[in-house]
Subunit: 249 residues, 2 copies
């Protein structure tokens, strides 16, 4: 078994546009995969509105519970961008202009385009460490274990990919997926037994219907490669005993 | 202004498969839109793991705060389907076999296919009111203001569409979207002024880059049609003053 501890994270997606259904969130899935690749497990995600109290409460609930908290959204120049003030309030820090961030913005825009609205993107909690934004320059930042990023997926993704190696992770979870042309109901009992027999492995079962055919994706997940191999073998044996066959995905 | 109150909801997506990144969630957006159409506003969504304590805590936090709480996921026949037990626990109700749900399952499966695992789908909180599942029969249900549905989008959607007219909603939010070839930074100050001037309207601003061109979607939302029309007119006037032009979406 791995000696590394499990390192955990939560994500707060801040944005009325996701809650109104206008926008399909893409940040949960991207960060779930990206975090796992550096050994951090996403344990919870919340989508909340652009409301200061909600943001403050979510940050304080989650930063006490998980190793890292990521936020996406609400750090642009407009009136509905209130994340940074809420982060400072949640963490009991002064809120004001970050000189380094201001210099980045002044360097990026033509002098006549440096508006007070745009400079608001340099307002953040005292002591914030900036995170480079290779796309549109306005930086993200980190305060203690809270990492504040923009909501636009393309920009967030570039920022995360540049920063992720600064995160201290454990062993990444690995997984094996086996797709089988059996309804999950016939596998439920033996699968429950497998779960009992394989410590350190998480078994999941996800039914589907494709082209009129019922099937199930069986997934085993573990940070321990040996345990995962044994689980996958046991899954295949179980399927064989039930007369099922793995399908192409 | 409308006399109807704002009716609110939260959604709890229960599923390790979303948190591992294996599956892209589709339920938040579908329910955001579907709820709004019947006058219910989605205020918050949480994605949590298949862990009983997490489910109990989320249900109790959210059912006290919002008019409705929806859950998706974790009501199938396998060992990782633990939502129903957690709902009963959260609500302090007995957990056991619902005779009506059992009859639906026995009617659906051939006698030799009625397994104990499948009958677990009839275990729910005492007093649950069933919700018809037109696709795969295993019913969803409602207990007080908590509505429990499956996680597979196609099944959840069919169930929701059959049930939604039982929800008591207020006025649906309506919205106007104007896409303009201006960066949001140049609109931030006048847009903040519009927000101050238009009570009961929510203005949002969502920047993008398409084909190398910077632009912004401006969205006004309101349950009051007259206020929304006035807000849209004011947005168009603001864009005109800034020398911008609406773009095709």
């Amino acid at each position: 078994m791995s000696e590394k501890p499990t390192v955990t994270a939560a994500l707060i997606v801040i944005g009325n546009e996701v809650l109104s259904g206008r926008t399909q969130d893409a940040n949960v899935q991207f960060l779930a995969v990206g975090l796992n690749n550096v050994g951090v497990r996403l344990m919870e995600a919340r989508v909340i509105a652009d409301v200061e109290d909600e943001i403050v409460q979510a940050i304080n609930a989650l930063r006490a519970k998980y190793d890292y908290v990521f936020t996406t959204g609400g750090i642009g120049p407009t009136h509905d961008d209130i994340t940074s003030g809420a982060v400072a309030k949640a963490m009991g820090r002064e809120f004001g202009r970050n000189a380094e961030a201001e210099a980045i913005l002044r360097d990026h825009y033509r002098p006549q385009d440096v508006t007070e609205a745009r400079l608001r993107m340099a307002d953040m909690a005292e002591g914030a460490e900036l995170i480079d934004n290779p796309v549109s320059r306005a930086p993200g930042y980190r305060v203690e274990n809270v990492i504040v990023m923009p909501g636009v997926p393309r920009i967030m993704q570039a920022m995360f990919d540049g920063y992720k190696h600064n995160l201290v992770g454990g062993e990444p979870m690995q997984s094996v997926t086996i797709t089988v042309a059996l309804p999950e109901g016939v596998m439920a009992a033996p699968l429950g037994q497998l779960q009992q027999d394989h410590d350190g492995v998480e078994f999941g079962s996800y039914p589907f219907v494709r082209h009129g055919q019922v099937g199930t994706c069986l997934v085993a997940r573990s940070a321990d490669e040996g345990a995962l191999d044994a689980a996958a073998d046991a899954l295949r044996a179980m399927i064989g005993e039930l007369g099922g066959q793995p399908m192409e995905d």
